[in-house]
């Protein structure tokens, strides 16, 4: 460590606690309290990264979340590796490992640096313009462009850390614990408001906490001492919660804010075990006070991006807070007085200032006179025109500015330096305010956007509201908070301030150069390598909207969202286009204010909680019996049960055959079940289904089809009349929740006069379907008391029964075309009844089958699956289900739409069966159906919706929708595939037992 860069004076640095860390595989030392940036600077390292496009060497510019250059990869190759972290925000700890990004083989010698030499041919829009032709080549270009463009590397393994979400409700939220935030929090809390104060830093007090200058005093004390006492006082207030290392990411409507609280990132890895790393706070505040401060502006001039060029305020903070000198021979370049505060800090530590370049002709403030007294040469009315040094700045050249500031005149003076502090004034941090929907106004005097119209109960105070002087900040904070909180007692008696700074500044967005603009590289957006030249080019090419210029030049589109340079981009646009600032608006600030980790966003919703799933009461049996599962909605449904290394096809063939030859058993518990009661239940069903319900006798079941008002099929299922005014409706598995919602909607809003009550009972019952020629024998063993004779218990009827004294409902309904029974029993008995059925079916080779076999069996019968064979563009008529649409009923949902001019077209897509010429050939679901492959372009007639090999028919069968398919029976069509054309014939969609003999066979 170069000792002459470290000053043992800061109370924020614990010099008794040495911390070792690795950067680019080399070990360095810092102290507890350092950030990675301050520790690197103390080791004399400025060059930490390469720029995005030109691979130019870049150094640390700032001290905070606005950092555009010093973005690094943390934890290198470990599972915790994290790209694009700002070195200025990383608190160092023992064992920290970090490395530079976007460079190869290393940051000091980077092959990509050749792009800098090629930069004259890499202007804004270069990629758009160059890699357009031929279009098909983009995929080839893309690989190399993506490889050479560079941010960090994503982790490749699961994140070992724990994250969580937390809701917080408070009366007052104060964002930012600078001087105005501290005062506001104290006023709010002392007046009884439940208050939360958050700050992104690890310490409170903002930039005033290290302000030891004699030039700004409060009540005759230096600012930092006064503020320390205030912080000490507020830490004792009971109804004030303070959270440091907490960055507000988003400010939404209705004062809903998201913040990230960092809990372990500053700890050595071995101390993070079992601790929550980051917490996403979901804050709902009655009132919000934004005190986010301001960000220093850089100055835009040729080669303003070399390592060693930093914000002037950053140099001050590295000295005063971290005790680190950024250079040994400094030059400051400014347009305002704040750089003189930096000068005073440097002078106090005896660090050399070679010169101050001030673009103002007149400087009239106490602090500037004091600096001059220390024999510092101030070049008034001068501007930097160029800088030198590849990996670190070593020289600058300056020239006199013309009166109007448009050109530079006279001789070039060269000055040596190893660090150049720049200050272009200050930009209020209005990001959160605008996120919340606030409208800004432009203040001409000092060229800043400040809050104007508040969209919710909130206020901005301090420098984020455009108050920059200490006296102004304190005076306005006191008065506006009193008014905002409607309180009399401000907790502050007369606060006297002294400030040696003058607020005058000379604003020039793009400083003139002695070179033509085309030969300069004046960076506006450091992270995305967007220069003033690029912005001017965009305007020359006709872009006018700030949003378009932004996207074309990528200005402000980096991970820093252009916190430093956005204002200059706006300024250069308005100067070039000859418009007034504010006229073009600003670009939109979008959340998050600083990047969030994915871990924080998902919180505990990882692993099995990422997308929670529902299990049927029989789930464990399926698992124990080797089932493969399929996701249906949120449900895990048994898909098929492979035996002895069967693949899916083999298992499904075996299951399908067994169900028709002897007996099959299916867990149908996932079907939606809605209990319907009330005196108008029959009328209600009449209105929601296409068929008639009034005459359905108690104890009978009926299949129903439900439409949307547009006439398209929405859902289907069997509904059973349990009593005079009592029905149970079944819906599709995936549609259950939506169907209930739709029925409730109609009941509450269109037909409130109907006496009908709905309850979802899907989870209350387990549903076991036993089918096949031996189903009757099996069920009679399970429920011996139940008379299963066709006379007493015919197809489409229901009986109450008991199994071991437990009530159950048995329906004789069928989705397979086989004789079958559905047993509905209280869910917690589901598994034992299933096992009983298995036991009873042992002698009949009862075969459990999953959803795949169910699909195959129903396809043999031509039964549709809503959502597979339909897609919200098919009417019942299109499905050849005219039989279910009542002609007599006056109205039902969707009826009127069935004879709109569009729905009565003959050439609509209609459901048909498809048989392949080669019975062994199974079609692909989703494959297109055509008639003429010679026509160009080929006309698509429809597509295959369901396709299987039927072991019962010993041939391939398929359902599909085909334009005008209803009238194409027997016609030959073609399914063109990648390497062959498959010939098919249009057939009846019912492939097996059209007469329904199997259902009614005497067993």
């Amino acid at each position: 460590m170069s000792n002459n860069l470290r000053f043992k004076t800061s109370k924020f640095i614990d010099e008794t606690y040495r911390v070792s860390f690795k950067f680019n595989n080399k070990t360095y030392f810092g102290f507890k309290g350092d950030t990675l940036a301050s520790a690197l600077l103390a080791n004399g390292i400025h060059l930490v990264g390469r720029s995005f496009k030109y691979h130019r060497p870049r150094g640390i510019m700032t001290t905070g979340s606005e950092e555009p250059n010093a973005i690094i990869q943390l934890h290198d190759n470990s599972s915790r590796t994290e790209p694009n972290v700002r070195a200025t925000e990383v608190e160092i700890y023992e064992g920290l490992v970090a490395s530079s990004q976007n460079c190869w083989p290393n940051v000091n010698f980077d092959i990509g640096g050749i792009n800098n030499l090629l930069s004259p041919i890499l202007p804004a829009g270069f990629y758009y313009k160059t890699f357009m032709w031929p279009a098909s080549f983009w995929e080839k270009y893309e690989y190399f462009i993506r490889k050479s463009a560079g941010l960090g590397k994503s982790p490749k393994v699961a994140d070992p850390d724990i994250y969580e979400h937390k809701y917080i409700h408070c009366d007052v939220l104060v964002i930012g614990a600078g001087i105005s935030g501290i005062m506001a929090a104290k006023m709010a809390a002392k007046n009884g408001f439940k208050t939360l104060l958050v700050d992104e830093k690890s310490y409170l007090g903002g930039s005033s906490i290290y302000d030891n200058s004699e030039f700004s005093k409060i009540n005759n004390q230096i600012t930092s001492s006064w503020l320390e006492k205030e912080i000490n006082e507020i830490s004792k207030i009971e109804n004030l919660e303070i959270k440091t290392r907490t960055s507000v990411a988003a400010f939404h409507g209705y004062n809903f804010l998201l913040a990230r609280e960092n809990l372990t990132d500053h700890l050595p890895i071995n101390q993070r075990e079992n601790k929550v790393r980051q917490r996403l706070l979901k804050i709902r505040a009655k009132k919000v006070i934004t005190a986010t401060g301001s960000i220093e502006r850089p100055l835009i001039f040729d080669n303003n991006d070399r390592p060693g060029i930093m914000l002037s305020s950053a140099i001050k903070k590295y000295i005063d807070l971290y005790g680190v000198a950024c250079g040994e021979n400094n030059i400051l370049f400014t347009n305002n007085d704040t750089a003189y505060e930096t000068a005073m800090s440097l002078i106090q530590r005896g660090i050399k200032i070679n010169a101050i370049i001030d673009i103002r002709e007149q400087i009239d403030s106490k602090i500037s006179y004091e600096v001059e007294k220390n024999n510092i040469k101030i070049y008034k009315g001068y501007s930097v025109v160029d800088t030198y040094g590849y990996r670190r700045i070593n020289k600058i050249s300056i020239m006199k500015l013309s009166k109007d500031g448009q050109t530079v005149i006279g001789d070039k003076i060269k000055l040596n330096c190893d660090c150049l502090g720049i200050s272009g004034g200050w930009t209020p941090a209005v990001h959160l305010f605008t996120q919340s929907g606030g409208k800004l106004k432009f203040r001409e005097e000092d060229q800043v956007f400040i809050p104007n119209v508040y969209p919710s109960d909130q206020i901005s105070i301090g420098s984020c509201n455009g108050d920059f002087g200490l006296d102004e900040i304190i005076k306005n904070t006191l008065s506006s908070i009193k008014k905002f909180l409607d309180i009399d007692n401000s907790e502050y008696k007369a606060v006297e301030t002294i400030s040696g700074l003058n607020q005058s500044k000379r604003n020039i967005w793009l400083l003139p150069s002695d070179k033509s603009i085309g030969k300069t590289k004046s960076f506006v957006d450091y992270q995305n390598d967007a220069t003033a030249k690029d912005i001017k080019l965009a305007l020359r090419e006709g872009f006018r909207s700030i949003e378009h210029v932004k996207r074309y030049t990528t200005t402000g589109m980096g991970t820093d969202q252009g916190k430093l340079g956005n204002m200059h981009a706006l300024g250069i646009i308005s100067e070039t286009a000859g418009t007034k600032m504010g006229e073009h608006g600003t670009t939109t600030f979008r959340p998050p204010y600083t990047p969030l980790t994915f871990g924080t966003i998902v919180g505990r919703n990882v692993g099995e909680f990422f997308d929670i799933f529902r299990r049927t009461p029989i789930h464990d049996w399926h698992v124990a019996n080797n089932a493969e599962f399929e996701n249906v909605g949120q449900w895990k449904r048994a898909w098929y049960y492979p035996k002895d290394n069967e693949n899916m096809h083999q298992a499904v063939q075996r299951e399908s055959k067994a169900a028709r030859d002897s007996a099959g058993i299916l867990d149908a518990s996932t079907l939606g079940k809605i209990d319907i009661q009330g005196t108008d239940s029959s009328e209600f069903l009449n209105r929601v289904y296409t068929n008639a319900w009034s005459k359905l006798a108690v104890g009978k079941c009926r299949y129903g089809l439900m439409l949307n008002e547009d006439g398209m099929v929405y859902d289907d299922g069997v509904t059973t009349r349990l009593g005079e005014n009592h029905y149970i409706m079944t819906t599709t598995t995936g549609g259950a929740a939506n169907v209930l919602g739709k029925l409730e909607d109609y009941l509450q809003t269109e037909w409130p006069e109907l006496d009908v009550y709905l309850s979802s009972v899907t989870d209350h019952y387990a549903t076991i379907s036993v089918c096949g020629p031996n189903s009757k024998k099996i069920v009679s063993k399970v429920i011996p008391d139940l008379d299963l004779s066709d006379e007493k218990f015919p197809h489409m009827s229901f009986k109450n029964a008991k199994i071991d004294n437990i009530k159950c409902r048995v329906m004789r309904i069928s989705f397979t075309g086989e004789h079958s029974y559905e047993i509905n029993i209280q869910a917690n008995f589901g598994k034992s009844v299933w096992e009983k059925c298995m036991e009873a079916g042992k002698d009949f080779n009862i075969t459990p089958y999953g959803t795949e076999t169910m699909h195959l069996l129903r396809a043999e019968k031509g039964f549709i699956i809503v959502g597979q064979d339909t897609d919200a563009t098919l009417t019942p008529i299109d499905l050849q289900m005219d039989w279910i649409v009542s002609k007599k009923k006056y109205d039902f949902i969707g009826k009127r739409s069935l004879y709109r001019s569009d729905t009565i077209r003959e050439d609509r897509k209609q459901l048909v069966g498809l048989l392949t010429e080669n019975p062994e050939e199974v079609l692909e679901e989703g494959a297109q159906i055509v008639a003429d492959i010679k026509k160009s372009p080929i006309e698509m007639l429809g597509h295959v919706t369901s396709s299987y090999y039927s072991p019962n028919l010993k041939k391939s069968i398929a359902l599909g929708v085909v334009k005008g398919g209803k009238n194409m029976l027997g016609q030959k069509l073609i399914i063109p595939m990648e390497n062959k054309n498959i010939n098919v014939t249009v057939a009846d969609p019912v492939f097996l037992d059209k007469e329904g003999e199997r259902l009614n066979a005497k067993l």
Binding site: R284, E709, D710, E744, D745, E750, R900
Partner: protein
């Protein structure tokens, strides 16, 4: 995220609710008497106003009741909520 005052439950987070489109569109009592155009008017035509809009909302993860809301779509301010069947408040 809005704070919505359900007329039955009181103030709740927006995440408990579902928006249901334009309010005060009554399903025709005699759809069969309507021409295609008249039916299409009911079926498809919805306003998309920048400003004061009348909307249906459902407290889907709460009491499951539908109700109406007057919302300014330009700034998301909720001007009023009222039960189904009640007259909209005068602007």
């Amino acid at each position: 995220m809005f704070l919505i005052t359900c007329p039955f439950c009181g103030e709740r987070e927006q995440s408990e609710f579902k928006a249901g489109g334009e309010a005060h569109i009554v399903r025709p009592k005699q759809p069969t008497e309507l021409s295609d155009d008249e039916w299409a008017e009911y079926l498809f035509m919805r306003k998309n106003i920048k400003g004061i809009q009348f909307e249906r909302w459902n407290h889907v993860h709460g009491c499951r009741k539908w109700f109406n809301m007057v919302r300014d779509t330009s700034n998301d301010q909720i001007k009023a909520v009222y039960k189904m069947g009640e007259k909209p408040p005068v602007k």
